[in-house]
């Protein structure tokens, strides 16, 4: 029993890590197809901002808001100056955001320094049935779920969500219907930056905050995003994070952390290989395969009856 709970705990923790690291990137990629190579740097800015806010005497929650604010501001600025000029040219926006990533991370190093004071971790541990759980990690899980649900609600029930979904699937049509797609892209990019900054600030509670802070999360975020695909952001993110976290946890528990990480990557590559458009389409293909198998066995007997 203890092993199951322990596994569930680690699984949830992995899921939270994957989901929170990638949610900002998923929004931007799903909406605009832009691979934001500066995603890790937005996370770093969130952590740095939170650190500064805390040093200036703000309570922790407001410090985190400061971090989100900083990341959003820089995100919107970059959208206006750079990203907007490169819509539709996806390889160029990848390269440009890469340059931005270099400027931001090296800029932080030069202008601020090799590290900033860390944030306090106000969470303790909780004991259940003789096992210790970090409240912080449980908080991350709750946060991940809350963010996903909020995002889903935003997409489903608000005007913005409606316009955003229209712009995602049929940008020309949406434009013709009066949706200000430029504005949608701007808000989306800002939202993606905000979520990245938020994740960065939150992760900053448990790590040393350096200019290369975000770089550790970048590969994870990319893996989750590419597996998620861009057809349905929320469902894709959920499916991707759930499946990849399961593989990662299983192999980590069975072997070690490194094996877990590599197994997760291999799984991602297999999924992409089988279904380049993402895990949702893979699930769809598997379902179609299963139903065709079922109907072909049914069909043969019907044909036999006919020919008899």
């Amino acid at each position: 029993m203890g092993d199951i709970i322990s596994f569930a705990y680690q699984y949830a923790d992995s899921f939270a890590l994957l989901a929170l690291s990638s949610i900002g990137l998923v929004i931007i990629f799903g909406m605009m197809g832009v691979i934001n190579m500066a995603h890790g740097e937005f996370m770093m800015i969130g952590a740095f901002g939170a650190s500064f806010g805390f040093q200036w005497g703000l309570p922790l929650s407001l410090a985190i808001v400061t971090g989100v604010f900083a990341a959003t501001a820089i995100g919107l600025l970059l959208e206006r100056l750079v990203i907007r000029k490169l819509y539709g040219r996806l390889l160029y926006s990848l390269v440009a955001t890469w340059g931005i990533s270099l400027v931001l991370s090296q800029g932080a190093l030069v202008l601020i320094g090799p590290s900033v004071p860390s944030l306090p971790n106000p969470f303790g541990t909780v004991s259940v049935g003789g096992m210790n759980f970090s409240v912080y990690r449980l908080f991350l899980v709750a946060l991940a779920i809350a963010l996903i649900v909020t995002l889903w609600a935003l997409m489903r029930f608000t005007n913005f969500g409606l316009h955003a979904r229209a712009t995602m699937t049929e940008p020309d049509m949406a434009e013709a219907l009066g949706v200000r797609t430029t504005r949608i892209y701007m808000v989306t990019f800002g939202l993606g930056a905000a979520l990245a900054g938020f994740a960065g600030a939150i992760f900053g509670l448990s790590a040393q905050i350096q200019p290369t802070f975000g770089a550790a999360y970048t590969p994870i975020a990319f893996i989750v995003v590419v597996v998620a695909g861009s057809r349905n952001i929320i469902a894709g993110l959920l499916a991707s994070a759930l499946v990849l976290a399961l593989v990662k946890t299983s192999f980590t528990v069975g072997f070690n952390i490194l094996t877990g990480y590599v197994a997760m990557l291999v799984t991602a590559l297999i999924i992409i290989r089988l279904s380049p458009t993402g895990i949702l389409d893979l699930i769809g293909k598997l379902k179609a395969l299963a139903s065709r198998h079922r109907s072909s066995t049914k069909g043969t007997s019907a044909e036999e009856t006919k020919n008899a």
């Binding site: 340059g99 990533s101 590969p219 590599v262 992409i272």
Partner: protein, 362 residues
């Protein structure tokens, strides 16, 4: 052969181009006599990166594939050289075996990765992301290999300290060593003029070979795959095979730089797989112009030199400036500085055509 070298796809042709090129190469041959050992060491490090740059130009500019995995092949080539050479430490062929090993390892890995991406019908940014992720995961993996159990044969991987450092002097990575018969070997250290001449020779040879390749039928087809892969396929071209082959060639070139780097400095660490190392060739090729091999070569050398000058005078701003340069180039001059020259010559053609028609009318 003449048509292949003087063909239409790699820019630059005609007597002026070749004469200027030849003069440049001849001029370069005088450099070792004019500079000190330390400068030569640096210059050699710039030159050996040329193959990495041309490989990226071939993939990105000529084939339309922005491979972010060139650092992976660089690193694999380098690590393979080190591992093979360390394991064969007693043989005079250790270094050359390492060269072969480096290139073979990279090409095999590229074939595998190519199968994964191109035959998986991946396009555009997806290819870039998959190649990037694979590169970063290799870096993470190698950084974890510090313990004594992590070795291939007699070569310890050394974690983030890298290859060749684990047990002190016992595992030195040899410089480029060519057996000259009679039990003797020529050891070409990274700061020697010999290394420099070898590099110049390799660069000229590789350039001419690649130039003939891109001007050939293969290059003609590659351009179509770059522009519109679906249409190219309906014309009978096996686009996935073409992309995979180009990918393998690009990998071999990157590995060439990688193994020369290890032969130059006698060490290699996982940082060569990192994001920063990966972005530098993209900057050189983007700024110079990715649709020209010659531009890629010049861009790689000039920008590395420039970055070093910046690092000497401006301290830590070198990377910031390079990052900003990349953003500016993408926004303002996406085809690189080369496109300025093409615009200029096109304007000149338009003007001479209009002058011709005017004189006819007059």
């Amino acid at each position: 052969m003449r048509e292949l070298l003087n063909g239409r796809i790699e820019p630059g042709k005609g007597p002026v181009f070749w004469i200027v090129g030849a003069l440049l190469v001849i001029g370069m041959l005088f450099l070792p006599g004019l500079v000190g050992r330390y400068t030569l060491l640096n210059f050699n490090s710039f030159l050996l990166m040329v193959f990495l740059a041309t490989g990226l130009a071939l993939l990105w500019g000529f084939c339309g594939v922005l491979s972010l995995g060139q650092s992976a092949f660089f690193g694999i080539g380098g690590y393979a050289y080190g591992i093979v050479a360390i394991n064969l430490a007693d043989s005079p062929w250790a270094s050359l075996a390492g060269v072969a090993g480096g290139i073979v390892a990279a090409v095999v890995f590229a074939a595998l990765l190519g199968w994964l991406t191109f035959y998986g019908h991946l396009r555009g940014v997806y290819v870039s992301i998959v190649t990037l992720v694979v590169t970063l995961v290799i870096e993470s993996f190698l950084n974890q290999t510090a313990g004594p159990q992590w070795k291939i044969g007699t070569a310890h991987l050394g974690g983030n300290n890298g290859l060749g450092r684990f047990s002190g002097a016992a595992e030195n990575i040899p410089s480029l060593t060519i057996p000259t018969g009679g039990g003797n070997s020529l050891v070409i250290s990274g700061s020697s003029p010999t290394f420099y001449y070898v590099l110049i020779g390799l660069i000229v040879f590789t350039y001419l070979l690649l130039r003939a390749l891109v001007n050939s039928r293969f290059g003609v087809a590659l351009a179509a795959v770059r522009e519109d892969p679906d249409r190219a396929e309906t014309l009978g071209y096996d686009i996935r095979l073409l992309q995979s082959m180009t990918f393998c060639i690009g990998a071999a070139l990157a590995a060439m730089s990688g193994l020369l780097y290890v032969a130059w400095g006698n060490f290699i660490t996982p940082s060569v797989f990192g994001v920063t190392a990966n972005v530098l060739p993209v900057i050189w090729v983007a700024v110079a112009g990715r649709k020209s091999l010659a531009a890629a070569i010049l861009g790689a050398v000039v920008l590395q030199w420039g970055a070093q000058q910046l690092a000497i005078s401006g301290g830590e701003w070198a990377l910031i400036v390079q990052g900003a340069l990349l953003v500016l180039v993408v926004l303002l001059l996406p085809e690189g500085l080369l496109s300025l020259r093409q615009q200029f010559s096109r304007m000149r053609d338009v003007r001479s055509n209009s002058l011709k028609s005017q004189s006819r009318q007059g």
